[in-house]
Amino acid sequence: MLAVGMGRSYGDVCLLQNGTLLRTPNLDRLISFDGETGLLRCEAGVTLAEILDFAVPRGWFLPVSPGTKYVTIGGAIANDIHGKNHHVAGTFGCHTTCFELVRSDGTQLLCSATQNADWYAATIGGMGLTGMIAWAEVQMRPIVSRRIRLQSTKFVGLEEFVALSKASTNSEYTVAWIDCVAQGGNFARGIFMQGEHDPDQGPLTPLVKPKVAMPFDLPAIALSRLTVGAFNTLYYHKQMSKQKTGLVDYEPFFYPLDRILQWNRLYGKQGLLQFQCVLPWESDPMGMIQTLKAITASGLASFLAVIKVFGDVESPGMMSFPMPGITLALDFPIRREVSFGLLDKLADITAEFGGRMYPAKDACMSAAHFQQFYPQWQQFSSYIDPSFSSSFWQRVTGLD
């Protein structure tokens, strides 16, 4: 069996073929909230969207936010998610003060940095394999406004991106959109975004904006090199000046894709594959240049590509993905043979330069690659609940 929340992981970490999935979204109750300290305790199926709806009007924000708010807190811990503030705040696990792990034999383990510390470490980033997280406690961070002070800067080339990242280590949130289609003089152009919670008092209650749903699957041809290239050129040039500043609501800043429900349908019936790797600083910049060149050469890239510098805040998680270096995340439409071939190649480059790939976003890394990326996997496997497994785990440990 395997506990699964919203099922938003892109690959098979949240799936178990021929097994039982324990759906957690009905575990959606808060347990306690301290308005003085910002300590929030809730059941594991509570989504980040529900936490924001509750906490933002009270002047509190998530300590770490991924690219979508439609994930559960159990999933956030199991995948030890990261966000735009990784360089200063680390992963979600760094702010998870404690949780209860329920094992299939009925044992309930209260886990924290000091209590059952080994289970705490194994479960953070443990891909849901150590048992079921029943509830968790998270340290929220205070805000006085929903607004984010945003500064966007255009760049061309990785060196400029790295320079911008290094110059903005004081910014709480940094991330960049990168054009993975453009070649030649425009190679690795993008827009670097840095943001802060607005320190000035501002609105905390939400502005109600209608959500748009993608009503049907686009034909597979819709996202071609031509259309994506055109989109990227328009997007890059939409910002006329080199640098732009402004105040934006946190929703479009953190969750641009959540505005379009079922955005995955842009990719047609064939669907999409995600890829996310991190390459350590030592490989800089050759590893990332090779990765980007392989992607542009394939012509498969979409416009949803982001690049970010990870910091050195260490996660308590044993199997946590982030490490100091540069991370690149993007998705590809599935085109038989080409897409999987490209991902194999990207995995080879990641391995060659001492990086690793993110299980939560993976659908096809080989067992050999996984075991190279996470040499601690055997030590970790002693914590796996005997009744728990996932299709991902069976794939990368050669058990299937």
């Binding site: 109750r29 808060l30 347990i31 306690s32 909230f33 305790r41 809730c42 059941e43 509750f54």
Partner: protein, 217 residues
């Protein structure tokens, strides 16, 4: 004040409400089948709250239709939980609200009470009887300023329906809760939730009996 059978689940809901800012939440553990214990629970609620403005009656069982067809005791137990125990609560609360000349009685019935179908007519009969009881009670105390609201949900994704394969007609508890809230605010008499069930049940009620008896519903 929250009333339910399972202490753990009751505590979880109470904690949730407190964390979200409720000033005070009382709980009372009891099996509502025990109608003799109703007056004590209700009097305590009125006493602790000082005044009751709204009562939401939401307990019930789906029951095992096949078992109820074979054994009267099974059928009687379904009728007792869904109808008789609710009548006990409504009698006390109806008189309380009438004397207060204000209040809202919101009672969860079901679309299944609109027609008797072979797949679940024992459950349907318990809800159908409840609908008529509520209609009569409304006729009696609406003029005293008491709202009597009959809530008719369709399929809702709760533990009660966990064994039924979920289709497009299933609604989430949140959707249904919002529908109930709106019906209370608008002082409705009868509310289908989600709203589209009003259309479906209008059509189903329009099927003539001689045809209905031959259908497989």
């Amino acid at each position: 004040m929250l009333v339910a059978r399972h202490r753990n689940r009751l505590t979880a809901v109470a904690q949730d409400l407190l964390a979200r800012g409720a000033v005070k939440v009382d709980t009372w553990v009891m099996d509502l089948d025990d109608t003799a214990a109703h007056p004590e629970m209700l009097a305590t609620a009125a006493d602790r709250l000082g005044r009751i403005d709204l009562a939401l009656i939401a307990h019930g069982v789906l029951g095992d239709q096949a078992a109820a067809e074979a054994d009267f005791e099974v059928a009687a137990a379904i009728l007792h939980t869904n109808f008789i125990s609710t009548v006990s609560l409504l009698t006390w609360l109806g008189n309380y609200f009438q004397a207060q000349r204000a209040g809202t009685l919101a009672v969860i019935s079901s679309v299944a009470g609109d027609r008797g179908r072979k797949s679940n007519y024992v459950y349907g009969a318990s809800k159908g009887a409840l609908n008529i009881f509520l209609e009569g009670l409304r006729n009696r105390i609406d003029r005293d300023g008491v709202q009597v609201l009959t809530i008719k949900p369709g399929f809702v994704a709760t533990p009660m329906t966990a064994d039924i394969p979920h289709n497009a007609l299933f609604a989430s508890p949140d959707q249904v809760a919002l529908g109930i809230l709106k019906a209370v605010e608008h002082r409705r008499d009868v509310a289908y939730v989600p709203w589209f069930w009003a259309g479906i049940m209008f059509l189903i009620r329009a099927i003539p009996g001689f045809q209905f008896k031959k259908m497989n519903l």
